[in-house]
Point group: C2
Chain length 211, copies 2
């Protein structure tokens, strides 16, 4: 199984690394980090981390699985014809086409979410309607072979479900135990449904300042 994870300037690292950590543990699977601007280093949105792209999108035109991660850098990609054309062409042959967080904006801009239910980071959920998608506030949304996950950490849950689809429940359970994914978040407010309104407002304000 050949898995493509496109990476780019101003990526959110956990969007990519969560699914990578799960899917790279599937037997006979290779995860390829592909730079949308070619092979070489990319920096995360805060500039604190460099990830290395071993190849370019052109190096893997026919992946079995796409995981498109998010981050501020996705805004520029929604009008990058080379990226959108790669997504469209690759999608024709994939078994699964997936996104994490604002990676959904790129799938949307490529036309893949048209008419489908889809999700993304809660701060950007409304934007999906602009691509003809039906925005759904759920952690993971599956529509045929197209799976979109909510913000950042949701990619881990998405990837574990995907691992089960690809290789069966037993192996996926093994991976979950291998990465000791028995989450105990210190607070209950990890979603807008459960967070206190003032915390939702705090995050919204901070995001507006950054944007």
């Amino acid at each position: 199984v050949e898995i493509a994870i496109p990476i780019f300037e101003r990526i959110t690292a956990l969007d990519a690394i969560g699914p990578y950590e799960v899917l790279s543990r599937l037997p006979g699977t290779t995860v390829h980090f592909l730079g949308v601007a070619g092979a070489g280093p990319v920096r995360t949105e805060n500039g604190m981390l460099g990830l290395h792209a071993d190849g370019s999108l052109a190096d893997l035109p026919r992946p079995d699985v796409i995981v498109f991660p998010g981050g501020y850098g996705t805004r520029a990609l929604t009008s990058d014809d080379t990226v959108l054309e790669w997504v469209r062409t690759a999608h024709v042959g994939t078994r699964w086409t997936t996104s994490v967080c604002t990676g959904a904006l790129v799938l949307g801009a490529a036309g893949i979410l048209d008419g489908l239910e889809a999700t993304t980071h809660w701060l950007l959920l409304d934007r999906l309607a602009g691509f003809g998608a039906h925005p759904v506030s759920r952690r993971v949304v599956e529509q045929g072979k197209v799976i979109t996950a909510a913000g950042v950490s949701a990619g881990i849950d998405m990837a574990l479900s995907l691992a089960a689809r690809i290789a069966g429940d037993e192996l996926a359970q093994g991976i979950q135990l291998g990465i000791e994914y028995d989450p105990h978040p210190p607070f209950t407010g990890g979603s807008t449904a459960s967070a206190p309104p003032e915390i939702v407002e705090l995050v919204r304000r901070r995001a507006n300042e950054l944007a």
Copy 2:
């Protein structure tokens, strides 16, 4: 707040990236990825991903926080005097000295866990006794300023608690909502306490094959 995350060949990426994704969102905080063999690229244990170390351990002798991640590569570090000496010296001045997964083996080899309760990946938990620590099967173990987390994904929970200690509950809750950490694992068996015995055996067998 200056946070040091040492990185090295055969690291487990999520051990480092989980805490980074949380702690880098604290205001006035910089996360430094420091290569134990100097600045430059390091590869994860499966070889599929390159992370870039912007500096060396020597570049940051007095961090406020250490997060030591795990991975197969930690075995070699437990006898690397340069690394152990950096950990010992830095630990004197830290506000928090922490580890994720088998990063605890390095803290242990540096003598920091002697007499303390500590945890690590469940497959290696017994090893901690060799460093004078009391192994505890818990997701996060706090002993004064020394915090150890269990395997891989436990670093996210640990970092959120740590964020609350550093900057208060409100900001930590904001970070948890920002990364939408409202986990819904597809299976219940993310710990040895909850996993079916045959899955525990499967993971143990696979780890032995890899080792």
